[in-house]
């Protein structure tokens, strides 16, 4: 399978001119095949969002290159859709109007875009909430609205930055199943940032483990579990093995991160 996305040797340092520049990414290289589901996991502050923002064309001034279909990316790309980590729905738009937003800016006529948006609203399980404003939705429903909005843009590559970070484990698992259904139905390439090891194994073809500052790729683990998967796969022994391996890798990073932040605090 051809690679749709090639990230090579990408490094990013914030506040380069200041007294204490922060190196967020250090020579990150990753190729993603068309239709692949890849999760990125790593300690907080290791540069995951930075990496996604670079691929999404939202951050400039980095080293290395990002290519889509072999062509270098410069700025926001039509084939890339991002679901942001932070709250990102438009508070003044209803669920339906939020989801229809990318279609609206593409100039699609109102009846058409509403029809289409309705499908994506339903895809993320928000039927009946079309006319609610974000303030009237729960946190998870707002995130699903944001997911539906990016899906409606129909990008070939979806970048999901911890969309379900703030949810309880059960809801998260069910949404994971939902994401797999959507992924299977739309044949998109998905990159997902998560802090949740179970979620990463449940959903992905490959899991990218990142190390604490500067953010590097520590290891890439291929998940060889049969498809189609659902959250039931969690109870199989093989699943447990993957989780164990990831946990060991992450524990090293997490404790390193803790030691460093404590040292930083002590040094002040």
């Amino acid at each position: 399978m051809a690679n749709i996305l090639e990230i090579s040797e990408v490094s990013k340092t914030y506040d380069l001119d200041s007294e204490n520049p922060v190196q967020a990414l250090d020579r990150v290289t990753l190729d993603v095949a068309q239709g692949e589901f890849v999760s990125v996991i790593g300690p907080s502050g290791c540069g995951k969002s930075t990496l996604f923002n670079i691929v999404g064309g939202l951050i400039g001034q980095y080293e290395g290159s990002v290519r889509i279909d072999g062509r270098p990316v410069d700025g926001a790309h039509r084939d890339v859709g991002v679901v942001f980590q932070e709250e990102s729905t438009f508070p003044w738009r209803t669920t339906l109007d939020n989801v229809a937003f990318p279609l609206e800016v593409q100039g699609m006529a109102k009846p058409e875009r509403e029809d289409k948006a309705r499908k994506f609203v339903s895809l993320v399980g928000l039927d009946g909430f079309e006319n609610h404003y974000p303030a009237q939705l729960s946190g998870g429903m707002k995130q699903r609205t944001a997911v539906a909005r990016t899906l409606a843009y129909e990008p070939r590559i979806m970048l999901l930055d911890e969309p379900f970070g703030a949810l309880d484990e059960q809801t998260r698992m069910l949404l994971g199943d939902k994401m797999l259904e959507i992924w299977a139905a739309l044949n998109q390439t998905m990159l997902l940032i998560t802090h949740n090891i179970t979620e990463a194994v449940q959903l992905s073809d490959r899991v990218v483990v990142m190390s604490f500052r500067p953010g590097k790729i520590k290891e890439v683990i291929s998940v060889d579990l049969p498809r189609p998967r659902s959250s039931e796969v969690i109870s199989t022994p093989k699943f447990g093995e993957y989780v164990g391996r990831l946990w060991t890798l992450l524990r090293e990073e997490a404790s390193r991160g803790m030691v460093e932040s404590e040292a930083e605090l002590a040094g002040r």
Partner: protein, 253 residues
């Protein structure tokens, strides 16, 4: 029990009741001599003063004159203030450079410049409109810039990730985000505009409600003075209500 429940549910009613109670207390206070009638007339007398003032000075007609002047000033203040606020937001350096000056200008009693405006525009409606526009535009400029600066970076990134044009970014993301802040500026601006316009009408004895207030005042007609001040308050109520509606329409939540 049910009475108090209903009251708490209906702010308009609670407000009206508060005013009614205040007026009753005032009526009694004037009646019993606790408040000098020469300074504050009985509310009932003020009420009864409306027909004669209308007869004599066309209160309703002049209500619309002051309202129209305020609307014209505000329209100019908006059409210059919002784009200028946007300019100061886009050009950070200018924004930082002018922020302090604008705040200082806002505090300045521009009403005192009226002789200069008289020289330029004469005793005409144009003087009123221009003098109303200046204090009205400043808070709109300041709040427009503030509102745009406050737009969440994430929402801007959403727009960029969907490849929206600069135009759409402004109309569909930045402006709706900033509407509550901008409208705070508009509300403050309209009040200053109105106060300035009425003050100039009063000072130069030309057009609108301010002129009636001045006329009644010089006749020592205290109820008439108060009646025309109430008419000024009604102009302000109109704008407050009107801009509330517009804001609700632009940004339902």
């Amino acid at each position: 029990m049910t009475g108090s429940f209903r009251l708490s549910k209906s702010p308009v009613l609670v407000g009206a009741l508060g005013v009614a109670v205040f007026l009753c207390v005032l009526e009694i206070a004037v009646e019993t001599g606790m408040v000098m009638e020469l300074v504050v007339p009985r509310p009932s007398d003020t009420f009864l003063a409306f027909p004669p003032v209308q007869e004599d000075m066309d209160l309703v007609g002049n209500f619309f004159v002051t309202l129209g002047m305020t609307a014209a000033s505000t329209a100019i203040a908006l059409s210059i203030g919002v784009p200028f606020g946007y300019f100061l937001y886009r050009n950070r350096r200018y924004g930082i450079a002018y922020e302090g000056w604008l705040a200082a200008a806002f505090a300045a009693p521009t009403v005192l410049l009226y002789p200069l405006f008289l020289v330029i525009f004469g005793r005409t409606y144009l003087t009123l409109i221009m003098m109303g526009f200046i204090p009205g535009a400043i808070p709109i400029v300041i709040q427009t810039r503030q509102g745009l600066l406050g737009v969440s970076q994430t929402l801007l990134n959403v727009g960029r990730s969907f490849n929206v044009s600069d135009r759409e970014m402004f109309w569909k993301i930045q402006l709706p985000s900033a509407v509550p802040t901008i409208f705070t500026g508009i509300r403050i601006g309209v009040m200053y505009t109105l106060v300035n316009i009425v003050a100039i009408e009063y000072l130069i004895d030309f057009g609108g409600l301010g002129r009636i207030v001045s006329e009644m005042y010089f006749r020592f007609d205290t109820p008439g003075t108060y009646a025309s001040i109430v008419a000024v308050i009604l102009v302000s109520v109109f704008f407050y209500w009107g801009f509330g509606r517009i804001e609700k329409w632009l940004r339902p939540v």
